[in-house]
């Protein structure tokens, strides 16, 4: 009798457990079979942590979540913290299911082995602008899709140019003359960002590339000539000496405040410009000789599928990334954020809807990615570039010697 008692309780406990397990199983079963209550939650990590972009992206993410029937758990971090976060998570094996990366970083992260190539999920990557595919390609495999891209252009204050009777400049000479005429007591003719960071290097690229310079050989006369243009603009006083300390956000602030008549900046600034009182317009970045095709760098973010070990989730994440780059999604994001769709077939339709984006859209067709040629050497290349720019703009080295001197550091 005494020995039976424990058995009895044990049996009861086991029976109770069985019920619990059964309940749990049916609960799971319910989740997967019934529609609406989605069982799968994808974690998403991106750096659109400020409005308006945070909520604009949220809308696009929500649409795709609804479309492929998943829940999303989104985390946003400041732009400069993203890579650190990604590396930390890679080492603790807690990468998100969907990861957004700035396009020049894709190859570096793909190199870690932490991303899965989209060919694993039969994602169709045709029809996209070549530049953004180049940026997302590492060792022959495409690792991510960018729904939209941005690039640089020359913005000008319509009122100020009309007042001075000046046409928006198309060549470097016109740029210098226009900037000089537009410079008055408390106003500069032009502003750009030459800060000691990737931003400075990125802003220099359209001048360098359009002039035939190349990141694989920074000590060429073409590149030095482009740098000389910047040096001339600053030394002649038509651009502030402060450009060596300005981010692109600062440049935009100067333009909005009316402190500069023209600026080199990206189309992603348009939502803020729209909200200001400034009447602005834009053209492509001026080139050295009339008739040359301007070559600008391609900006924008790429959505990737990290290797998390859960293959079902990875497949769903790939579906999600594909959805973000679908035609409807691209148009929606492009219109909301003033960036250009990456499906070349959409560009004409987009310009028809957003005529103010014409110069940028045109520029995207010929735009190049920063990592297309130098791949994961881009960080080192960019460092040399902005170091050289700083040396030349502060008079520590001539434009011809600056790149050589910077490369030695």
């Amino acid at each position: 009798m005494r020995k039976h008692h424990p058995h009895g309780t044990c049996r009861r406990v086991m029976a109770a457990m069985a019920v619990v397990v059964l309940l749990a199983l049916t609960a799971c079963g319910d989740g997967t079979t019934s529609q609406g209550a989605s069982p799968l939650t994808l974690t998403v990590l991106d750096y659109y942590n400020n409005d308006p972009n945070e909520s604009l992206m949220q809308a696009a993410l929500d649409n795709c979540a609804a479309e492929i029937d998943v829940e999303i758990d989104r985390e946003t971090v400041p732009g400069k913290d993203l890579i650190q976060k990604v590396l930390q998570r890679a080492s603790s094996r807690t990468l998100p299911d969907v990861l957004m990366l700035d396009n020049p970083d894709v190859q570096e992260i793909a190199k870690t082995g932490g991303l899965s190539p989209l060919s694993d999920y039969d994602v169709d990557t045709s029809g996209f602008t070549q530049g953004i595919l180049d940026a997302a390609t590492y060792e022959g495999e495409v690792y991510g899709l960018g729904p939209v891209v941005s690039t640089l252009g020359l913005f000008y204050n319509v009122e100020m140019l009309e007042e001075a009777g000046i046409e928006p400049p198309e060549t470097w000479d016109e740029l210098k003359t226009a900037a000089a005429e537009l410079t008055t007591g408390d106003r500069y003719g032009i502003a750009f960002s030459a800060i000691a960071s990737y931003e400075g290097a990125w802003q220099f690229l359209p001048f360098m590339w359009s002039n035939g310079g190349d990141e694989t050989d920074l000590e060429s006369p073409e590149t030095a000539e482009a740098l000389r243009l910047w040096v001339d603009l600053v030394n002649s006083g038509v651009a502030s000496q402060s450009v060596i300390n300005w981010t692109q956000g600062d440049v935009k602030d100067q333009f909005v405040a009316g402190n500069t008549a023209m600026m080199i900046n990206g189309s992603w600034q348009i939502p803020t410009l729209e909200a200001s009182d400034i009447e602005y317009a834009s053209v492509q970045v001026p080139v050295n000789e009339a008739g040359t095709t301007p070559v600008a760098p391609l900006g924008g973010e790429v959505w990737t599928v990290p290797i998390t070990g859960d293959e079902a989730k990875q497949a769903k994440a790939a579906e999600f990334v594909t959805c973000l780059s679908s035609e409807e999604s691209q148009m929606e994001i492009a219109e909301a954020t003033y960036k250009v769709p990456t499906r070349t077939s959409l560009i004409d339709e987009y310009v028809a809807k957003e005529p103010s984006m014409e110069a940028f859209a045109e520029q995207v067709r010929n735009a190049r990615s920063r990592t297309g040629k130098v791949g994961t050497d881009w960080p080192a290349t960019a460092t040399t570039m902005y170091a050289a720019i700083q040396l030349a703009l502060t008079g520590q080295a001539s434009a011809e010697e600056a790149f050589k001197q910077a490369a030695e550091n």
């Binding site: 190199k111 932490g114 460092t383």
Partner: protein, 312 residues
Amino acid sequence: MTTTNRPAISVPTEAPSRRRLRFRSGDIVKLMFVAPAAIYVALFFGYPVVKNVIMGFQEYTTQTFFTGEAPWVGLSNYVTAISSQLFVPALWNTAIFTFGSIAGQFTIGLALAVFFQRKFPLSGFMQAILLLPWLLPLIVASATWRSIMDLDGGVLNQALGVVGLDAIPWLTDPSFALMAVILVNIWVGIPFNLTVLYGGLQEIPEDQYEAAALDGATGWKAFWHITLPNLRGVIAVVLILGVVYTLKVIDIILGLTNGGPANATQTLAIRAYESSFVDFEFGIGAAFSNILILISLVFALIYLRGIRRSAN
């Protein structure tokens, strides 16, 4: 007496077992109080330092984070770090930045501490205001100072203009930039110096000043012969901690100049940051920060020796 007692006192086999017994009963409780702190220090200070020292000898790339593979490269990271053209300027900038910051923070902090020793209307309120820089996130402080020091529209240059002086290119001229970041760092560091030194001043017995006043020592004399000697211990703490804090400053410099213009504000801490998180050369970044740790260690040892001497 002694011969009969001796075996009872020191039985060599019994002593250790008794100690072990006492350790089990009483010391375990004491240990449990120490354990959380010890584990915390080991995890959050010990582990990163050891890891960083090891990283300095490895080729540590972005790949390593995912695969865990980091081949040993001996001293090559240190060779790269030290042979870089920027190493000597960075070392020099670190020294100027640290010395300049500490000198300014300490002098102003001490002056303010002495000033606030007297009670006057609103002194408490003013002291609280002076602590503000301490509460402000450094990234906010540097962004604010960046706009204050702006060449064309900055308040600082406008103020200079009012007095009839020319605008100073604080952050855009390589010959001014280091001074500008030092000035901001002094501003950031004053509250710490003020608070600790003010605390030290409260410890000085009032009757010492009274006695000295009877001998005719007031004002500067009292400061020199009573205040300073009494503060010696506190001053040592403030200076050494100040040096260790200042050596590793990066936020303020990144926020103000990003290491520019033309590398004028590159310090060893900035080199460490840039090697790791801009160029993704984590091994070289670790080498730079290990050199910094070594320098800090020298000051820490001076500090510990000072403490031991004052305890004796």
